[in-house]
Subunit: 148 residues, 2 copies
DNA sequence: TTAATACCTAGAGGTAACTCCAGGTCAAGC
DNA sequence: GCTTGACCTGGAGTTACCTCTAGGTATTAA
């Protein structure tokens, strides 16, 4: 299957501008053209784009993603570098997940805090609640004493 | 307890520049000064900073965080807005966690892919492996057929 | 055949969140 | 008193990642 840039934009939730920008930055190295210069994306390009988006979601800068794509083109000598890159990304993602869980705990505490405040009409109620009087899941997140 | 900006920078892993920038943007509204103009952070400022960082980790822009801080100063009329803000942040974080899990699945597949490729000296081996021959946790992530 | 729509390039502009610099002030130890 | 290191301000500069504009070409449907 082949796709125009507009179709790819729709499927990927990236703008046409962004796709052209990615190509210019070397993140879509295999996109072909018609005789008149119009881009033709094939399924391999779509897979490549998914990989770019995956790495981007791990917080990797575009220039490092390009580096990875260059390694892919360099052949088997770079297999270890590429493996190590994914080991690093895995460590980064696990760290992000742990951090996000802590963030969620704090947000959950705040949800309880403001639910109580709205119900009582003032912040005094949640502020004066002892940890032992809080609902089960909330107590732990309160231990770091966030109070505003 | 009171702290200089340098001490706060060390404890928070933010730079002195960033802390001054945050204050300028209204994210640290209560920091006091000595007679000669040097900032004195107290424990309440530290808690406020933690909240700013928590919201920032949910992907919230600094200007929206400032909006929240303005609501806090406005008093009890804004309790519902603040509660709703934390409901929204919770939804955002849950979405991020789901996305991050999918990203991790893909990364794990790639780790397996390159481990196999390094062991065999070429990408042909993992490329030609059927899902049924892959290790348990890897199979599912491969289903979306990422192959480069 | 013509109107509407989608595509093209080069390059300028924008935004968020810092980051740094010049030029100066302040505080603590010797 | 003097040096050293930490602090101050205003404002310019940087980075990453888009986002848009102008001016033009290509494709498609009526």
């Amino acid at each position: 299957m082949e796709y125009t840039i507009g179709e790819v934009a729709e499927r990927s939730n990236l703008s046409i501008h962004t796709l052209r920008y990615y190509e210019k930055e070397g993140l879509l190295p295999f996109v072909k053209r018609t005789a008149s210069g119009i881009r033709k994306f094939d399924d391999a390009d779509m897979e490549g784009l998914k990989m770019v988006e995956c790495l981007k979601r791990t917080g990797m800068p575009l220039k490092d993603i390009k580096q990875f794509l260059d390694w892919c083109q360099a052949g088997d000598e770079t297999l270890e570098q590429r493996r190590n890159l994914f080991y690093e990304r895995r460590a980064v993602v696990l760290e992000q997940m742990a951090e996000l869980q802590k963030t969620l705990d704090t947000i959950n505490y705040k949800c309880w805090y403001y639910e109580t405040a709205v119900r009582e009409g003032s912040e005094e109620a949640p502020k004066n609640t002892l940890p032992s009087e809080m609902p089960e899941g909330i107590r732990a997140s309160c231990e770091c004493s966030i109070h505003d």
